[in-house]
Symmetry: D2
Subunit: 298 residues, 4 copies
């Protein structure tokens, strides 16, 4: 298929490469052009604007950091024409970004009005999983179009979950999943503080809890991140974690679902941002907030 | 070894049987005598009091529901002589119960004063794991005595974690582990409400989250309990969950470790008890509290 | 002065009447026209659109329920021209509504661009206070324009607090004040449940606490509302309380200020809405949420 | 009447003096003897032990810092005979301390068994109010004995509230009142952080909120303490606030009343203690916790 791909960050880039390797014809766009160098080296044309990347494609993929970034490439800005104005009738927009339910609903309506289809397909997985085409895709939207685009989603992930014919349902699932991770981080951080102040090494406690109870690689990996607390390049920044938890709370408010644990994690993420941890990995950031709240030096 | 065993509930009974099968000489006591029938049928003598079960044994095991029950068998009551008065010098008391850090500290002091040894060895695992000798044991106390009793602990579990030479450290680890489980239940319950009110079946969400993220049998099992919400015999009652989270909070206050997530779970457990869910499985109980808080019928 | 007044709800109507009585020339607009009948009877012209109410006035007052309502009258809708398009250069817009900080900031920019002045002047006080010209006004914006409009603000209230030259600061203060009230409602509700389940009448406890501690008419009035728990017409609906607490949380997130108590109140308001209490007075609604959480019948 | 008085701290001392001035015959005891110097100078005999202070008195007052201190003077210690052993049959013990509901219940039973009466009469008010005999007394217990002792309670306060014939009810009311104060401190602290980070001076916000809304001297005084944040001698230490909130939570758990706001304040008090604020005034300590959580320097 002829595919436009906008957003070549640490997730978008490997996904685009995977689609290329699967034999599709791509045109890509990224705000910072250098991010497109590698794909250009592989013969992929690089658009000068979101509009150009959307022109005459059957499917437009977008993978942006947040609502604002996605809206900017779709609507365009003063000096940069947006994708919405150029996307053809009958085209499909597959949104991979973790965005708000509200924006997902607005986009579904806008594309429908333009005679296009909007599919939400946010993904679970870190950049390594994207590079290995091992993402998990949560997809929702018009069943026929989803069926048609299924090979594309199959190509980038190891599994596709279809959760409904309203695109925003995929966003709810993605946000709920991230909420579960954030809750795990908060729980581990609090437990680590308790055992450490009691005199048991958190690393040992993690081993016990994961051996005897959870048996989960996620607990192992994230727990180790918290315990080590290093200032490494963040896999997922606390500021993005804050955003996702806020989006989960907004989605919950829209359906009148109180989520006090999400509120707690939100407040701790915000406290971390206020204390200078916005760019720390969210595991490290939440670990630090709970440690500092207990008077521990870092 | 000659072993006294007090407390033949759904955990104590299979553990005692395992020790018997491992070739040890047992004498057992249980408040409700009928619980001892099966072991008696296997030739195990049944004591008439905690005191009798403690007489002339090398090791006394106790497996009781809470602090009050353990204290009652140790101190005795008006008409029932307790174990402390009859346990010999040099004997070892291995406490398997999930009790408070404060009681564990008092018992360590009391046994030391009586020329005895107190080891804390709370276990992770449900009754099925106890029956299969697949518990995980968290042990702490005097290293030499722990070494000496190690074969007993190896017999009842698939692994023993030694966390320090202060017995109460094992209790901190056990309570912290239960806190992690309770936090998982709260997180799942809240997420289930959000997806359900949005229109995604919680069962499907659980499958997605555990496939793409956690890959944990604990999430699978407990998540299914919440989703199904059945009034089956509770594996672990909400009232006991409330107790454990309170004990975690007490342990945390003793070392000045704030645990807001533990506080949240505590309040939800208490709310469940207030709404008649004391005897429900804690997964089901917490699920119901969050569902009702969101106005869902059950 | 020549004044346009948009929004004749239970607060706007008495305020408009006060301005009239102070000798100003008014033209008014309300979505539901009947609300303007009384003022029309006093000789006040009633506009057919927000635009007409804004035409050729020196000062435009708006008093709407929320962001969406205010934006609707300012931008207009398909069949109803908005005020922004017709308000003259040099005019002043005094916004009395309790709106978001973000909207207040956008309006300040929009009016500045149009050569107009935007002042935020949200008020504390219930409809009775509005009728008696006893509101408290919190005002912010350009000092010279504030000075010029000061007589108008003095007329409607018993006091005016100027909190800065950025209009949104007045909104922060208003939202923070409402947060304090909501926190008081939550605290009283929880205490009432504790004393009631212990066997002390909440009414007696309220009397003791307010006599010995707070000596505050607000505690007296709101506390009595909670205790009585009547389904009277709400002075201030729970749904509006939810909105205000959410706006406080948004304002707090914008400056990286964690507010866990605001989060708690938000979740309880939302739980009340989910349980059918959206139209109850927020004191009654929060009281019911806490009572139900403790298993009390109502 | 012949009165024993144990506990001459900053509350007990002025109360004892008031009773003396009201014409009663006193004998006093304090662990640190120097605290009794002033009363001795007025001719009051100073006992060498709690037991001596309880001997042959009609009424024994106690005013201690916490459960442990009260139990120590009642039971006595290795080298200091306690009051319980010497208090005569028919005597009345009036407990002014802010203690746990559980201890109050145990004391009621113990005194009844000894043919004595236990009345709980905790007080609201700071040391200045005690010196001016302006305390508010919350009393509960046997009505006839309360009636008999009423003149004593009237002497020390400006009002007596009788809340039931079970002594512990007075403790519930006292703890609930302190919970309301703690909640106010938390609410004010959070609001102050929001307005300060927005650019409005907290002092101005306090003035607005108390003028327009609360009109409460308590808000004025405590709010000013938080705003000024001085390291003055604490009127009421954060460590004591933590204790009182914990006792409220224990009382609430006993009647299955979830109190999430109490839990939040508990966690913040504990965080303050963990960060070295145990001896700060609780208003200052809670203010600092919320400021630090928002990244503010102090």
């Amino acid at each position: 298929m002829k595919i436009g791909f906008i957003g070549l960050g640490n997730m978008g880039q490997p996904i685009a490469r995977t689609l290329l390797q699967a034999g599709h014809e791509l045109i890509v766009y990224n705000r910072t052009r250098s991010a497109a160098d590698e794909l250009q080296g592989l013969g992929v044309p690089v658009a000068n604007s979101p509009a150009q990347a959307a022109e005459a494609v059957e499917v437009l993929f977008t993978m942006l950091a947040d609502d604002a970034a996605l809206e900017a490439v779709l609507q365009g800005t003063a000096d940069l024409p947006g994708a919405m104005g150029r996307l053809g009738q009958g085209a499909v927009h597959i949104s991979l970004s973790t965005i708000s339910v509200a924006l997902s609903q607005r986009l579904a309506a806008a594309h429908a009005e333009a005679g296009q289809t909007y599919l939400a397909a946010p993904v679970f997985g870190r950049p390594e999983a994207a590079a290995a085409a091992k993402l998990w895709v949560v997809a929702a939207g018009d069943p026929a179009q989803l069926e048609r685009c299924r090979p594309l989603l199959d190509a980038i992930g190891q599994g596709v979950f279809v959760v409904g014919d309203q695109p925003w349902l995929a966003n709810v699932v993605k946000l709920s999943g991230n909420f579960l991770i954030a809750s795990m981080l908060e729980a581990l951080s609090e437990a680590f503080v308790l055992v450490q102040k009691s005199g048991v090494p958190p690393q040992q406690f993690l081993e016990i809890a994961n051996t005897a109870l959870f048996k989960s690689p996620l607990y192992q990996n994230y727990g180790t991140l918290i315990v080590e607390g290093r200032d490494l390049p963040a896999g997922f920044k606390l500021a993005l974690g804050l955003k996702d938890v806020r989006l989960a709370l907004e989605a919950a408010e829209a359906v009148a679902a109180p989520m006090p644990l999400a509120s707690l994690v939100h407040d701790h993420c915000l406290s971390g941002v206020a204390r200078g941890q916005a760019d720390a990995d969210w595991a490290v950031g939440l670990g630090r907030v709970n440690a500092q709240n207990a008077g521990l030096d870092l």
